[in-house]
């Protein structure tokens, strides 16, 4: 369904952790799904194409993320989404040992990522790293994982 946009990001299916939910049908994955609205729909559509995009203000040229209807820097209202490199560093993180939402296998890592382009993105730290080895400053790269019932969402893996 999704495909790799060459040189941009790797798209792989999410390896199911060894929990009972690995046995569940995809449609029964209890994790919350993103609920796109008019503002954010283009972002999630790009994710489905394996592309990470953030808004860029036509008036002042600055990037804006998380999405805003109005530029917080200049008040501009034309903020189209543009592709970004998908490279960044961990700004801060937490290894979660007690989940307050259904469907998450503990421990898992959540993080704010400083993107090369100067905005901050959120996501999980996944891939070939133990949760306790995650550090502030760790170079990471976007990875799209399938969230059953929704499509691809960006996560972060060690670069």
């Amino acid at each position: 369904m999704a495909f790799v946009k060459a040189g941009r990001a790797d798209v792989i299916t999410r390896p199911c952790p060894p929990t009972k939910r690995a046995l569940a049908w995809h449609s029964m994955d209890p994790r919350p799904l993103p609920r796109p609205n008019a503002l954010t729909a283009p972002y999630w559509e790009a994710c489905r194409r394996g592309e990470l995009t953030v808004q860029r203000c036509r008036s002042c040229g600055r990037r804006v993320h998380l999405p805003e209807p109005v530029c917080p820097h200049c008040g501009g209202t034309d903020l189209p989404y543009e592709a970004v490199s998908g490279h960044g560093r961990v700004h801060t993180f937490s290894v979660v040992h007690r989940a307050f939402l259904p469907g998450f296998a503990i421990p898992y890592v959540i993080a704010w990522i400083d993107l090369e382009e100067g905005v901050r993105a959120f996501g999980g730290i996944v891939g070939d790293i133990a949760p306790d080895d995650v550090r502030i400053g760790l170079p990471v790269r976007v990875r799209f994982d399938d969230l059953p019932g929704f499509g691809h969402i960006p996560n972060w893996r060690p670069a």
Partner: protein, 369 residues
């Protein structure tokens, strides 16, 4: 100096037992705490203010139970940010002549009823949740764990120092019969909730109520006065997507205005009731309020602070959304606090809600402050 400075006094405080399962309604809890506070004050309220997150007893029900002929009354939607600034709301009503005596309360079944742990702290229109919920970020503990991790990174503090904060809190609470956590447990055995925060680093959701009776200073000449109150906030931990410093909390925004309004400096503070919903908020506020320089934090936390949350704070006494810390500030200024700070004349109390919040200075009358 603020117009209401010195015009209003906290004439009485009241609390219910704090527990994990009150078995009572929020209304019953509110009324019991209010009766204690009214008895202590010896003044009948003609106005009531409460704050809540949709989880408390309505003001008019409290008035009916207490047979108060209600004048000015209001319910403020909010949590920890309100606990200090509501003193200002009450003082303004009194100074303006809109009320003689104001009952302030917070009541909640925070453990057995509606719990905080998944409460959304979203700002704006909720766009943020679709970017965080799918990754398993929900609720204040995880959000403020992210800030705490960065704070440790910034300051060079470690989990050893968080341990020292918790140990200090528990050590104080041993002498506090109201406290829910009165034993100095093995910090390192406490389960991690969201690194670097263990269960022991987080205040405990609590059932209970706290009430204050605030009246004009001339009606309660010996009671602690509301000297200065500020409320504000800005960039920081409440919007981590677009702030230079995700570790910034309310205190870095309100500390300067508070001391300016009070005509005081940090050296004037005798006892500090800091909103310690999480252990790391203590060093962060010590820095922001000028009570300890960053370079001295490690040694200061290790040695313990007799003048900070002497009753054990929210971490150990319990969590009545900060109002129980304000009640202890009042007791400390009257001289009947837990681990009483000798001769305390000036108390700081604070209300946290991420990078928004409030702070107040109370003073003992007759000391020339």
């Amino acid at each position: 100096m603020q117009g209401f400075s010195g015009k209003a006094a906290v004439a009485g405080v009241g609390m219910t037992d704090l527990s994990r399962h009150s078995g009572r309604t929020e209304l019953q809890l509110a009324v019991e705490a209010a009766r204690h506070a009214i008895d202590e004050a010896g003044q009948r309220p003609d106005a009531i203010l409460g704050y809540h997150l949709g989880d408390s007893a309505p003001v008019i029900h409290v008035a009916r139970e207490l047979r108060i002929e209600l004048g000015w009354h209001n319910e403020i939607y909010g949590g920890g940010t309100q606990c200090a600034s509501i003193l200002g709301d009450a003082a303004m009503l009194i100074d303006a002549g809109l009320a003689r005596t104001v009952l302030v309360y917070r009541a909640l079944n925070g453990r057995s009823g509606r719990r905080m742990n998944t409460l959304s702290l979203k700002l704006g229109e909720g766009v943020e949740e679709q970017f965080t919920h799918p990754y398993g970020l929900a609720g204040p503990v995880q959000q403020f764990a992210l800030a705490a991790q960065r704070y440790l990174h910034h300051t060079g503090l470690t989990e050893e120092h968080l341990c020292a904060v918790v140990r200090g809190s528990r050590t104080h609470a041993v002498a506090n019969p109201r406290a829910l956590r009165r034993e100095v447990e093995d910090y390192w055995a406490s389960p991690m909730v969201a690194s670097p925060l263990r269960r022991a680093d987080c205040c405990q959701e609590t059932d209970g109520a706290c009430a204050l009776v605030i009246t004009s200073a001339d009606r309660a000449p010996a009671a602690p006065r509301v000297h200065a109150v500020v409320r504000g906030g800005g960039p920081g931990a409440s919007a981590m997507d677009r702030t230079d410093d995700v570790t910034r909390i309310f205190s870095s925004h309100v500390a300067g205005p508070l001391f300016a309004a009070a005509g005081m400096t940090p050296a004037d503070v005798d006892v500090a009731l800091l909103y310690d919903a999480y252990s790391w908020l203590v060093p962060r506020q010590l820095e922001d309020f000028g009570l300890c320089a960053r370079a001295d934090l490690a040694a200061t936390l290790h040695d313990g602070l007799a003048t900070v949350n002497p009753h054990g704070g929210l971490l150990s006494e319990g969590y009545v959304h900060g109002l129980n810390n304000v009640a202890e500030a009042v007791r400390q200024l009257r001289g009947d606090g837990v681990n009483q700070v000798p001769g305390a004349e000036v108390a700081l109390c604070t209300g946290f809600g991420g990078s928004y919040g409030s702070a107040a200075i109370l003073v003992r009358p007759g000391t020339g402050r």
